[in-house]
């Protein structure tokens, strides 16, 4: 099946590194065909959503400083419509997990995630959030934030450069673009979410 509609304004489709992955994802989503009317409406809504994602102001450690750099003058994520950082999880679309998550913080992060309204996204920024990073041997550190909440995009680095975060943001914009807005809870979220919630 031909893949259409995953072009985002800021970067060419060919310039991304992992297009096969996204194509497979789209194929899976559209396996049962797409209603023309709903599909068109979907595209319109997703166009709007992917260009105005509001992140939560959340950072535990070093990556937070690079997150601030992304918000400041040089990298400036306002160019992509991401600039409205929200202080309340109720108003945020995406949570950037910037920094190490430790045992004491884990229930707090879970609660923040639960407080966010659907559809919501998680970006694991930096090696600590991905897999514990340099602190993986510690008695008090989570080996990756995906132990407690589902993650949409991983941005490696210790800490990642602002450009890497921007790349991760654009990947997320593509992900938002291909999703079926009217069936979000059915097929767009990874299965682990419910498993983890019951743990």
């Amino acid at each position: 099946m031909e893949v259409k509609g995953i072009h985002i304004r800021n970067m060419k489709y060919e310039d991304f590194n992992d297009n096969e992955y996204l194509e497979k994802y789209v194929e899976e989503l559209r396996r049962n065909g797409v209603n023309i009317f709903v599909g068109a409406l979907n595209d319109l809504i997703n166009w709007g959503r992917s260009n105005s994602v509001w992140p939560l102001t959340f950072a535990t450690s070093c990556c937070g400083i690079e997150f601030m750099c992304v918000g400041a003058a040089r990298a400036d994520f306002a160019r992509f419509g991401w600039e409205v950082t929200r202080n309340s999880p109720r108003q945020a679309d995406v949570i950037f997990v910037c920094g190490t998550i430790v045992h004491k913080m884990a229930p707090v992060l879970k609660r923040l995630y639960d407080q966010m309204a659907e559809p919501k996204y998680v970006m694991a920024v930096g090696s600590c959030a991905i897999g514990g990073g340099p602190f993986k041997d510690s008695y008090h550190v989570l080996k990756g934030v995906d132990e407690i909440i589902p993650v949409d995009v991983y941005v490696p680095g210790c800490p990642p450069r602002p450009e890497a975060m921007l790349y991760g943001m654009m990947q997320m914009a593509r992900k938002i673009k291909v999703q079926n807005f009217f069936k979000l809870t059915d097929n767009n979220k990874p299965l682990q979410e419910n498993e983890h919630a019951g743990k």
Binding site: T57, T60, S61, M68, V102, K104, F135, H140
Partner: protein, 538 residues
């Protein structure tokens, strides 16, 4: 020293010796309080740090300093073989800052401090099993918690009866029943990280603050015990990431001192330049964030813009932006980039010009000055008692700049002023940061054209083993005196590593300074103290 020994021996049997030019006083636990009182009267008014240790016997080591002779450290040591009920008298009535340090040692070692007013866990959750820094700690004893922590409103104090037996633990409430308590954090944009404050307020006025740490406690000190010395270096950058280079510098100096080597002059110069660039970057960010706490987004954008210039210099030479990972034991990881000198030389006049603009934009603004002046006053005595070093202490008139007191690297060769003010209010703390940027530029100016040629790193053995002993090194980072305390048993890994975080005492200072001010001013005072939470939690 002899007079000190005589005085100590007149009252008790204390062992006084000099190890590597540092006086070590060893006493029995029951005599600890008397010895401490005596030392306090002798002029040891600054408790630099408290190190708990587990060398089969559990013990405590108080690192003391005098404000009259700040270059010298004295160690007051005591240990007990009772692992079931290790008990020491609390010294929080002698040095106020001991309050927070003793809670930390209780949390990590399970050592009870008798008569401590408020002995609760400070970093770990109240339902945590075991004491992680003990050598027999079982790392698998705790699962990832899934429920929120119920933080008790009770203070616990342990006392001993006259007959020697333990009295029932005294428990009293932290807040009164009719008090209105507001939670700040751990996820709060103005908390500069994941600090959790419980603030009791009356109307808009702050009555009492109870800080709660540990939301980013990574157990770095325990991890260090399993890592080799070059590996430890990478963790130090991530303590106080805004002064990562200085922290790393401290560990490098400590290891070099123990090994008896010295970095070549070229490395000394470049290390100093890196330290000062880091200080400028940190102060710019601290300035921007403090102004943002007061509602000025412009200052934040300006500060970050100028900071990017420094990040470029770091990136070109060291490869990392926020964390250059550049110092190694014996010198530098690599030689400087050919553009390094030109870039730094260009940065100095640029920053001077921008500083003028920053002053014009914000310092000269009557609204901001009106908010900052006479708010959050910290007196000189309080600053010393609370161990609030760095720009905060200097704003209160305390000469505590280690670059002047105990010069390391190239600081002895350069001409600069230690910035001292006397007011101790928020405005003084604010202005002292901008003044220090100016002084850092002066240092850079003197060093950048004179970097000596030659090797950039001293040769070290492939496997670095520190000789047996205890090694302490202090450096001035952008928030105050950062200290490393390494206990080595001659292995390639240390037996115990303790970092002295300047930010921890700054939160102690917040508890004092913000009381009876408006809640909006508490945020601003916090911004002016400029603490970094991952450095506190370690």
């Amino acid at each position: 020293m002899n007079t000190l020994e005589n005085k100590l021996n007149a009252t008790e049997t204390a062992k006084v010796e000099t190890v590597d030019g540092c006086i070590v006083v060893t006493v029995e636990p029951c005599q600890l309080r008397n010895a401490a009182t005596l030392l306090r009267n002798e002029g040891y008014n600054f408790l630099f740090d408290l190190v708990g240790f587990d060398s089969e016997a559990l013990g405590v080591e108080y690192l003391l300093s005098q404000t009259a002779q700040p270059a010298h450290l004295l160690k007051l040591k005591s240990q007990t073989n009772n692992r079931q009920h290790p008990e020491f008298p609390s010294l929080s009535s002698i040095w106020e800052v001991a309050n927070i340090y003793e809670r930390e040692v209780f949390d990590f070692f399970g050592i009870l401090f008798i008569d401590h007013p408020d002995l609760r866990r400070i970093f770990l959750r109240t339902d945590w099993h075991g004491y992680p820094l003990r050598k027999d700690y079982d790392a698998t004893a705790n699962d990832i918690p899934t429920h929120n922590e119920l933080i008790p409103d009770m203070e616990t104090s342990h006392s001993i009866s006259l007959h020697g037996g333990r009295e029932a633990d005294e428990i009293h409430s932290l807040f009164e029943n009719n008090e209105y308590v507001v939670n700040f954090g751990p996820q709060h944009p103005a908390m500069h990280g994941v600090l959790h404050l419980r603030v009791s307020i009356e109307g808009e006025e702050v009555k009492k603050i109870d800080p709660n740490f540990g939301y980013i406690h990574r157990g770095i000190e325990k991890m260090c015990e399993g890592y080799t010395y070059p590996q430890i270096l990478h963790l130090t950058d991530r303590l106080d990431y805004l002064s990562g280079t200085m922290n790393r510098h401290a560990v490098c100096l400590c290891c070099e001192k123990a090994l008896g080597i010295e970095a070549p002059p070229r490395a000394q110069y470049v290390r100093t330049i890196f330290d000062e660039l880091t200080r400028i970057a940190s102060h710019l960010l601290g300035w921007g964030c403090m102004c943002m706490d007061m509602g000025s987004i412009t200052a934040f954008v300006y500060g970050m813009r100028d900071r990017e210039k420094i990040m470029d210099v770091f990136e070109e030479t060291a490869g990392g932006r926020l964390m250059p990972n550049y110092n190694v034991i014996g010198g530098l990881a690599s030689d400087i980039h050919p553009n390094f000198r030109r870039r730094v030389a260009e940065f100095i006049p640029y920053m001077r010009k921008m500083l003028k603009e920053h002053h014009l934009l914000f310092t000269a603004n009557p609204i901001s000055a009106g908010r900052m002046k006479r708010v959050g006053k910290l007196s000189l005595e309080k600053a010393i008692a609370l161990g609030a070093t760095g720009p905060t202490g200097r704003a209160s008139g305390w000469h505590n700049d280690l670059r002047k007191i105990d010069p390391y690297a190239a600081y002895g060769m350069v001409d600069f002023d230690e910035m001292i003010r006397s007011g101790g209010d928020t405005f003084d703390r604010y202005i002292i940061r901008l003044d220090e940027i100016e002084q850092s530029l002066r240092i850079l100016e003197q060093l950048i054209d004179n970097i000596p040629q030659g090797a950039y790193c001293e040769k070290t053995k492939a496997v670095i083993r520190l000789p047996e002993g205890e090694f302490v090194q202090r450096v001035e980072n952008s928030r105050g005196q950062f200290g490393v305390h390494i206990t080595s048993r001659g292995d390639k890994t240390p037996w115990r590593v303790k970092f002295r975080s300047p930010s921890l005492t700054l939160v102690g200072a917040l508890k004092e300074t913000a009381v009876s001010h408006k809640i909006a001013d508490m945020i601003m005072i916090g911004g002016s103290l400029d603490y970094v939470i991952p450095c506190i939690d370690r």
